[in-house]
Amino acid sequence: MVTEQQVLDALRAIQDPDLHRDIVSLGFVKDLHIERDAVAFALVLTTPACPVKDEMKKQAEEAVLRLTGVKEVRVEMKSEVRAMADAGGQLLIPGVRNVVPVGSGKGGVGKSTVSANLAVALAQTGARVGLMDADIYGPSIPTILGITDRPLPGKKGIQPVDAYGVKVISAGFFIRPDQAVVWRGPMLSKLVDQFLHEVEWGELDYLIVDLPPGTGDVQLTLCQRIPLTGAVIVSTPQDVALQVAEKAVIMFQQLKCPILGIVENMSYYICSHCGERENIFDTGGAERAAERWQAPLLGKIPLATRIREASDGGRPVGWDDPGSAAAAVFSEIAKNLAAQISIRHLKEEAEPAVKISF
């Protein structure tokens, strides 16, 4: 009969392509059972949105089946998203494992569309996802996700509204459409605090935060309150947008918030008549920025009527039309982001949080 050690040794040959370590030393292999010629175990990945989940399962099955004396292999795929914690291992917002702001320098580059579709795509992989619309000046998440319900009071705070499997809270829920927010800094900070601590988020793997444009009070407060897992920067490809996006990058770096990646929106246009690709806002901008900022390019979103219609219609494209090219783009970005978050945690484990005792 095959031994546990033999099975583990066989599995050690399988690398996680993002984390660059083998799946045994990463601690992914759990609940190993051997009964005569049948082997069963679970692979507990760091995210349900793992881009190579199916491939890894196949490799694991094949590796164990190659062992002499094994006729049957059962692999159960599970996931457990790692959390940002303080030095004492405490979660900073109870239940919330990762807080990921989505920012840009300029307005109008599609931050909210990216945030909403990213949140929905992550939730579609099975992750528990929240979306905080902190763009107090122009909250557009309720429109993009077609939310007409309003949040209800819960036992301890406000209950977020569920939309397409995502728990949503938006400044738009509390401001009438005919009102404008004309607030000074302390009011903005207070709203961010309430959204973080007085919303009943429950258990979340990822809390995506849709930021207002720029580098102001909302961004600063968010970076001060909790150690963020890292930020996503959205930009269009042209220089004028990237130059301003760089200011957001510099802000996050000054505040020691890692940059998890860049999303290029309105990347190109494919003519619906002739199929020709047109680079309306230039091309290659995000690649150059990614190199300059030393951050990965998570994906490129085309300028597509389908995405615009979905956003205005309040039905995310990944939900409405899951087989479409637009849906595939968001799904790829979500998986790449989840992988970057897992990589980030591996780095954090290597350099533990500062201990403060005074």
């Binding site: 309150r225 770096q253 000054q254 505040l255 020691k256 918030c257 300059r292 201990k355 403060i356």
Partner: protein
């Protein structure tokens, strides 16, 4: 260019050097002592330093000789806030500034 992540050492531990003074251990192996009153006088907040000119508004004679931190808390990933025995608590000391200050105060 500021876009590259700084290679400055990161803090490992903030604790007491003695009853009043602060000690910070850094990832480059160094350990710096921050005498309490010197640190209070270096408070970077807008009430202690003019935001536009960078000139110090804080007057040294007004600060008690035995001023000391009562509590130190983290601020996100990039700084700490010190609650002082004289009631002052608006100064955000970034790790970057603290490392540089450590070279000067030592």
């Amino acid at each position: 260019m500021a876009v590259n992540a700084s290679s400055q050492p990161s803090p490992l531990e903030v604790g007491r050097a003695n009853q009043h003074d602060v000690r910070i251990r850094w990832s480059d192996g160094s350990e710096k002592i921050y005498p309490a009153r010197s640190l209070r006088l270096k408070c970077p907040c807008a009430m202690c330093v003019d935001e536009n000119t960078g000139l110090r508004i804080l007057k040294e004679p007004g600060i008690p000789l035995d001023v000391h931190p009562v509590k130190i808390e983290p601020v996100g990933r990039y700084a700490i806030v010190i609650h002082w025995s004289d009631g002052h608590n608006t100064g955000i000391y970034t790790w970057e500034n603290l490392y540089e200050l450590g070279q000067k105060l030592a």
